[in-house]
């Protein structure tokens, strides 16, 4: 499937086969990551730029690590020290970067749809690293990979996504990724934190976490932001935690093999109790680890056109 698509803008545009293909490709890069010298020359001579208009630790570092392990050159763009601070427009910034000769732009922006706009302006590839409340496709891919690793697959599995669904790009990507791979998804949130309409979404909706937990194979907790209280969406973090937080008591409602997931950064004591985050069934660290291999797969898929993966993996990267 390598080379079939130019951009990764969202999971909603991917078919189940394309998602499976990327997960299979990820297997190869997980293997590479385990090597003593975890680097291959697959994207030697290619340049990947990260264009982050919003703060990020794990996604940005994860993409940079992925690009470096593929031997791509990386350019990093930070809004605070760039011409954006001087008022340069998005389009001018993007065209300036492209003029320097880059093959892929990895973009994070607080506004939904910015990767789509950039994709109309550039000839290279665009990877969405999170756009507003819209999508975060590589997060969804690494979540699928992590679920597959722990539960053997998504088909027939029940995943509850809990918390601030409406303001979550992770939720919007995960809903499509999980359901396309055959999982049943239940969104659990107070009505104020659900999207205004879930018409056409292949999901169930519940406002009762206690009732849902015994039936799930994975519970996925979303970050609860303090500013939601100012908007009268929930009365207090305390009440949120009492209704929707994964407390120690609620963990006991889960089946023996059910896993606990979180995209990070966690608010310990709000959506997840501190001791729950560190339980063996919490796979948060695996999610982060798999993120690098998944992003290697995505970059190789978009930029490795015409290159033979098997051959590339047999060679060691230059130091």
């Amino acid at each position: 499937m390598t080379g079939a698509r130019r951009h990764l803008l969202g999971v909603a545009d991917l078919s189940a086969d394309e998602i499976e293909g990327l997960l299979t490709l990820t297997d190869s890069f997980v293997e590479v990551s385990r090597r003593r010298m975890p680097k291959v020359p697959a994207l030697q001579g290619r340049t990947v730029t990260s264009l982050f208009y919003e703060d990020s630790t794990r996604t940005r570092l994860s993409f940079e690590q992925a690009a470096k392990r593929l031997s791509a050159d990386t350019l990093s763009f930070s809004v605070s020290t760039s011409s954006v601070a001087k008022g340069e427009s998005l389009r001018d910034t993007v065209e300036t970067i492209e003029a320097m000769g880059v093959d892929a732009i990895v973009v994070r922006h607080r506004s939904a749809g910015v990767p789509h706009q950039i994709a109309r302006w550039v000839s290279g590839s665009v990877v969405n690293a999170g756009d507003g409340w819209h999508e975060h496709p590589t997060q969804a891919l690494l979540d699928c990979y992590t679920i597959r690793e722990h539960l053997g697959g998504l088909g027939g599995r029940h995943v509850a996504i809990v918390g601030d669904i409406n303001h979550s790009r992770v939720a919007r990507s995960d809903v499509w990724a999980f359901t396309k791979l055959g999982a049943v998804v239940t969104l659990v949130a107070p009505p104020t934190l659900l999207p205004p309409s879930v018409e056409g979404w292949p999901v169930r909706v519940s406002h009762d976490l206690d009732a849902v937990l015994p039936t799930v194979d994975a519970v996925y907790l979303l970050r609860m932001q303090r500013e939601r209280m100012a908007g009268s969406l929930v009365p207090s973090l305390r009440e949120y935690t009492s209704c929707y937080g994964l407390t120690r008591r609620r963990v006991d409602l889960l089946g023996d093999k059910a896993i606990v997931m979180h995209p990070g950064p966690m608010n310990r004591g709000v959506e997840i109790a501190a001791d729950v985050a560190d339980l063996p069934r919490s796979v948060v660290v695996d999610q982060v680890r798999n993120g690098v291999a998944v992003r290697m797969a995505v970059l190789f898929d978009l930029l490795g056109s015409g290159r033979d993966l098997g051959g590339e993996l047999d060679r060691e990267g230059s130091r």
Partner: protein
Amino acid sequence: MKSIVIRGGQVVDATGTRRADVLVEDGRIAAVVEGGAADLAADVTLDAGGCVVAPGLVDLHTHLRQPGREEAETVETGARAAALGGFTCILAMPNTTPAIDSAGVAREVLELGRGAPCDVRTSAAITVGRAGTQLTPMAELAALGVRLFTDDGTGVQDARLMRHALEYARGLGVTLAQHCEDEVLSAGGAMHEGAWSSRLGVPGQPREAEEVMVLRDIALARMTGAAVHFQHLSTRRSIEMVAAAKAEGLPVTCEATPHHLTLTDACCAGYDPVFKVNPPLRTDDDVAAVRAGLAAGTVDCIATDHAPHAPEAKELPFDQAPPGMLGLETALALALTNLDLPIADVLALMSWRPAAIIGAHDAHGGPVAEGRPANLCVVDPAATWTVDPGALASRSRNTPYAGTTLTGRVRHTVLAGEAVVVDAEAQR
């Protein structure tokens, strides 16, 4: 001034339809010869074969951007776009910089419009700076000819102030127009709140943000007896409420835009800010209801809400880009192409009915008859053309209809006896 004969067309106005040639001399219609007359002689002959000859169109909702945003549009470029669209009269909206909230700014806009290829009239703000707190000098503005007051771009949020504005306006015999939007309910919304906004992760504004203000202002019209004109209505319930108010005999009128008759929120799926507009594009059901409102007479007129924006403004992220789309050059063709209405009904909605709302019917929208001011448009209802943003006369390019093929084209426009558009080309 050169005399003109418009030869070979069907004359359509509020009195009916007839085959006639029209002679224009010294700014007025000198003769209307039914059946046509080969011996009518004039300096200029405009061919109207296969065309409808009608009173010029009147737009109650044009953003000309001058003063303050001349990079997007000027009175001159907007008036030229209007003439090409068949309009002989446009009403400038007051959300300029500074706002049209004083006699000085109103005079400036009217002065800029003198000599333009369209009769440029102006509305004025209801409140100073459109800030919603203090009434503008309405009597002084009315004395300059302002007939319609609006804070367009925002609605008057304060119900008590709106009540007093209506009472005051009633004493002057002017009309208040409302951009219906409860800003607390709509806050942050960049598109219609619904299935598409939910899916796209774009903050939405619910229908109810419009509807609560329509409901409020109908109540205030009942209370004060003053006329209210509802601008760019976009939802089913807004139309239903206005229909009920009219049935009750309240002095309310309303307009709908071509885009709310033809486009839906699904257009926003690619995050192209050219589809961002306020009120936002709604759903199929709302479009059907607004169309039905036109056919039923609930909606009094089609108004363009022509809202030019410079290209760089429409390249901002979707949630940051300014709302608005071009309308003057495509409005008539969109109506003819998309509405299942006879051309006479479309012309009523775009000429004589809006003319009556702003008291412009002395010069515009009146019957094509001897002695009347010669403000006319000649429309080829069968001509097809494809919208090319680069070919528009507006200074801006933000049409959502790029590449769309439309049926119906303005061939000629006559303003005060002068052919300002001939064969779809602006003459100045």
